[in-house]
């Protein structure tokens, strides 16, 4: 019985387990590395897509801004005015109220603008 035991290859379970763990760890690390690298590439592609989208939105915004400027420019408004699309009513001189500085009244009963001098003091 003892002779038979001598001929059998002895497996050091602890050492084997250690190597299995090390190998497994290295394999896992490798897989993680590959996975993370792929993730980085994927995120890079996503970043590129977002950058493109952002650039497109910015371009659309710029185009809209240019259109707004062109449509509201003085030349465009004048063209519209000539075409009759817009109408302007001139303000008559009588409709303008000017806040002139207070002058002493010439007559006692003369109507003149008044102001509260204490305001803002």
């Amino acid at each position: 019985m003892s002779t038979r035991r001598k001929n059998v290859n002895q497996v050091d379970a602890a050492s084997l387990a250690r190597w299995i763990v090390i190998t497994g760890f290295l394999a896992l690390a490798g897989l993680c590395y590959v996975y993370l690298t792929l993730q980085l590439h994927r995120l890079g592609d996503r970043k590129k897509i977002l950058e493109t989208e952002l650039a497109n939105i910015r371009t659309e915004n710029d185009l809209a801004s240019v259109q707004v400027t062109a449509l509201t420019s003085r030349s465009a408004l004048q063209r519209r005015l000539k075409e009759g699309y817009l109408k302007m009513v001139p303000i008559t001189e009588q409709s303008i109220v000017r806040l002139a500085p207070i002058r002493p009244a010439t007559d006692e009963d003369a109507i003149r603008p008044v102001a509260n001098d204490r305001i803002g003091k």
Partner: protein, 589 residues
């Protein structure tokens, strides 16, 4: 030697060691010694410096209206190393069709072995999108799109000479686009990127990157509402008088801010390729003219400031004809004794000549220079000329009688406006300004252009005396009654100069008519100049500054005063400018 197992084993080991040592040495050689060389070759193949263009700054008027804007476009480029050679003909056909390019030229470009070939610039966004979709559909590689922008000018020809334009490389060529290019241009950025075999960027391997800095915004002193008033009036003047050239300038005398500047002929900034060179000239700063009688303000200023005369000093005007230096000098009417004030009001040439004589050659020349003639005004516009003022050493015997009435000198319209502004603001020569400030896109001020006083030319008292005298010009007694505006006091001076013939002498029957003035005369808000070169009138006797340029000034001044909300003088009850202008026109008919 016995080839036992141990020996053979040792030999195999030695062989392996030698082999791996060779590999190791080669590896070390490649990685250390040849690293830079091979890295460079690899980078050349895959790494690409991608430019990131800065956006050019906007040009904005005093009221915040955008005068020059950027519209996004794309530049189509090719990397010929990424092109699929089998599909070369297909690519040429598609690009030729979509980009409107010659197929032969395109084939030649794509046949080269360059990594960066510009196929077409300034492709509109919609056209670029359509091409992009077709390239994807036909699976064509190696064609790329770069974001870019081009300049558009929403107001077309309005203020064209001031704004200017850029070339294909976004470099300012004319106007503010050129003079403020340093601020407007910004700074392009870049990014080192790597492509895969399909030509797509590998974002993970992005290299060094520098963000672009967009150009700054340039704010002008020009008010587009006033500019519009001026443009409408100059157009009306061109229709009525068909002059060869015309210029109108409005300026704030206290600060030197140019409120409006218009020239004819003009051109559309968005179609500048079709414009002729003479349309592109900003005649306000690059055209030289003999100013004629408007120059008498300098003569009178010199004599009054030197205290050689007082405003009420009388001078004998020789009854309209005076021989000096063997040559006769004429007035357009016969005048006897005229006060200094009336010399300006009646625009007497003989009176002006006698005033200059009282000052003397050298002193008079000094005053001309002190008013800024003969040197650039320093306005922020490119190409300004200094004009021609000859020193007294090269004057002829009669120059002292001709220069006082604006002959034998070459001045620009802007110089003339600045001279009048000097009288309006109390005698200070102010540098005219067209740029108010430069700001970043977020509103932060980068530079502010403040008013700059060059020198005190005449005393405030002299300026007041001149101002009072010039008010008489725009009265029923003066040469510019039609320049009056109801409710406002105007000081001004007319000018009618015979046109200089480029081949020598003067052109018969051709005149440069002008009017320069300010309003309100007591506390001027703006100075204006109207110049019409070779205006056509039905009768020769109507071809005078007071009859042509004066009414134009009046119409502009009336509208400008209304726009600026200037309070009319309550005591002035003169007939309206409109009725005066109408009567002037009626008298012509």
């Amino acid at each position: 030697m016995r080839w036992n197992g141990r020996t053979r084993c040792a030999l195999v080991c030695v062989g392996f060691v030698a082999l791996f040592s060779a590999f190791s040495f080669r590896l070390v050689y490649l990685q250390l010694v040849k690293h830079d060389e091979y890295a460079g070759l690899a980078a050349e193949k895959h790494v690409y410096k991608q430019p990131i263009y800065a956006e050019r700054g906007l040009i904005i008027d005093a009221t915040g209206e955008v005068l020059a804007h950027n519209v996004p476009v794309e530049t189509v480029v090719a990397d010929t190393s990424h092109l699929n050679k089998e599909k070369g003909a297909e690519a040429v056909a598609l690009l030729s069709r979509e980009l409107n390019l010659e197929a032969d030229e395109l084939a030649e470009k794509l046949g080269s072995d360059r990594h960066y070939v510009v196929l077409k610039r300034q492709v509109p966004q919609s056209a670029a999108d359509a091409l992009r979709a077709k390239l994807r559909l036909q699976n064509l590689r190696g064609i790329y799109f770069e974001h870019d922008s081009t300049r558009i000018y929403p107001n077309g020809s309005m203020l064209c000479h001031v704004i200017g334009f850029t070339d294909f490389d976004h470099k300012g060529i004319q106007g503010v686009e050129a003079s403020m290019d340093e601020y407007l241009r910004g700074q392009d950025g870049y990014r080192y990127i790597e492509h895969n075999r399909a030509g797509q960027e590998i974002v993970l391997y992005r290299g060094q990157e520098r963000a672009p800095r967009d150009g700054y915004q340039v704010h002008l002193t020009v008010d587009l509402n006033l500019q519009n008033i001026v443009e409408n009036e100059i157009d009306a003047a061109v229709r009525e008088f068909n002059p060869q050239k015309a210029t109108i300038i409005l300026m704030r005398p206290q600060t030197g801010e140019i409120l409006a500047m218009a020239n004819r002929p003009d051109f559309d900034l968005n179609q500048r390729n079709t414009a002729r060179p003479e349309q592109m000239k900003n005649r306000a700063i690059i055209d030289m003219m003999e100013p004629g009688s408007t120059f008498k303000i300098v003569t009178a200023a010199a004599a009054l400031n030197e205290k050689k005369v007082r405003p009420d000093t009388t001078i004998f005007c020789e009854n309209g004809r005076w021989n000096f230096g063997g040559r006769p000098l004429h007035d357009h009417k016969s005048y006897g004794e005229l006060s200094v004030q009336d010399i300006l009001v009646k625009s007497s040439n003989i009176g002006a000549a006698k005033l200059a004589l009282s000052v003397g050659d050298q002193k008079f020349y000094e005053y001309i220079r002190r008013f800024g003639f003969g040197e650039r005004t320093g306005v922020e516009l490119p190409g300004e000329i200094s004009g021609v003022i000859r020193p007294p050493q090269s004057w002829s015997k009669i120059s002292i009688t001709r220069i006082p009435m604006g002959h034998e000198v070459g001045v620009t319209p802007l110089q003339m406006t600045v001279a009048m502004a000097t009288i309006a603001n109390g005698g200070k020569l102010i540098t005219p300004r067209i740029v108010k400030s430069v700001t970043a896109a977020d509103g932060k001020t980068i530079t502010e252009f403040t008013p700059q006083q060059v020198r005190q030319v005449i005393s405030p008292q002299t300026s007041q005396q001149l101002s009072n005298a010039l008010r008489g010009v725009v009265s029923d007694r003066g040469t510019a009654a039609a320049a009056a505006v109801a409710g406002f006091t105007i000081a001004g001076k007319t000018g009618t100069a015979q046109k200089v013939d480029p081949h020598g002498g003067y052109e018969h029957g051709k005149y440069v008519v002008s009017f320069t003035g300010f309003l309100p005369a007591e506390h001027p808000e703006f100075v204006g100049l109207v110049v019409l070169d070779d205006a056509k009138t039905s009768k020769p006797e109507q071809n005078y500054g007071g009859q042509i340029a004066g009414p134009i000034f009046a119409r502009i001044a009336e509208k400008a005063a209304r726009y600026l909300d200037l309070e009319p003088h309550p005591e002035l009850t003169k007939p309206t400018a409109a009725s005066r202008v109408a009567s002037t026109i009626a008298s012509r008919r």
